[in-house]
């Protein structure tokens, strides 16, 4: 590894060699061993930055946020299988007797509908749209 490449890697990935690309770590360690002055001059500045970055720690999620997120999730009813069996029985009886009540029961016993959550198009979830969100990566 050239010193130039070592400096490039240090400026991109920082002082901790464990964060460097795995295929280049051994060569980087060899450069460090042969040029310990680089460790002092280059990696120390990166360590200073990382010490500051470590202080920027967003707060953990609030219980209220957790509650809202879990509340948005689809929930299967606890006795789902039993209700399904009853729903099937209800439907069967309803159909056999041409009983409107049986048909109604069949729908009402169906698992909690989450169709409104799953039915929409993926739209903004299209992952290919992320490549250059502002169209100005070259200027970033």
């Amino acid at each position: 590894m050239t010193e130039e490449r070592f400096l490039q890697l240090a400026s991109a990935y920082g002082a901790d060699l464990a964060r460097w690309p795995e295929p280049e770590r051994a060569a980087a360690a060899a450069v460090l061993a042969s040029r310990p002055d680089i460790a002092v001059a280059v990696l120390a500045a990166e360590r200073d930055l990382e010490a500051a970055l470590a202080r920027y720690a967003p707060a953990d999620a609030s219980p209220a946020l957790r509650h809202r997120i879990i509340g948005d999730a689809p929930h299967r009813r606890a006795a789902r299988r039993g209700w399904r069996w009853l729903a099937g029985a209800g439907l069967g009886l309803g159909l056999a007797a041409s009983c409107a009540a049986g048909v109604a029961a069949g729908f009402s016993f169906a698992p909690h509908s989450v169709a409104h959550l799953f039915g929409g198009p993926r739209g903004g979830d299209d992952l290919s749209s992320l490549a250059d969100p502002f169209g100005d990566a070259a200027n970033g």
Binding site: S11, L49, R55, I69, I70, H75, A137
Partner: protein, 184 residues
């Protein structure tokens, strides 16, 4: 396609079936990560909470259709979160700066007793001063601890371009935070 087993596949599948325990486990495993990503991209805790909620709403909506092996769930989650962050950053750019989060005075230097929270605030402001793509590269590689290949793929750039974004971003941060040397 991804190689190996995605540790999140089973939880996502069960969450998609409406399994409450899986839903709670997935939130416990991923919410902090999503929230931190959004907050560091947006620099605003309240907006980050909104993004986190929207992200998980998309998770719940898509989980029943999750195809194991097609992508790593954590990568997909980062992409969805970043898309939502960029939607908001784009809206900010289109609106007057009145909607931007406050940028407080950086405050005193470390020799005057700078507290950890104040240093964190300095870093937040410095991060928000970066071009979004440089900020994204640093957030993904440094804070989210993604590998360079995964981060580059997520950003739709080569590893070389990622390294350039990282270098420029870190250089700008070092300049902005030069007075904080010797914290540890």
């Amino acid at each position: 396609m991804i190689s190996g087993v995605d540790p999140d596949d089973e939880l996502v599948r069960r969450a998609g079936e409406g399994d409450s325990a899986a839903v709670q486990a997935l939130v416990a495993r991923k919410l902090r990560r999503v929230l931190a990503l959004a907050e560091r991209m947006l620099g605003d805790a309240s907006e980050a909470e909104d993004v986190a909620q929207e992200t998980f709403f998309k998770v719940w909506r898509n989980a029943p259709r999750w195809r194991p092996g097609a992508a790593k769930f954590d990568t997909w989650l980062h992409r969805v979160t970043l898309n939502l962050c960029y939607d908001r950053l784009r809206r900010r750019r289109e609106k007057p700066t009145a909607d931007l989060p406050d940028t407080p005075d950086p405050g005193p230097g470390p020799d005057r007793g700078l507290m950890a929270a104040a240093v964190g605030e300095r870093v937040r402001v410095a991060m928000q001063g970066l071009p979004p793509r440089q900020r994204e590269a640093i957030v993904l590689c440094h804070y989210q601890e993604l590998g360079n290949i995964e981060a580059a793929a997520l950003m739709g750039v080569s590893v070389e371009a990622l390294e350039s974004l990282l270098s420029r971003g870190r250089r700008a941060l070092k300049a902005a935070l030069a007075d904080l040397r010797g914290l540890d």
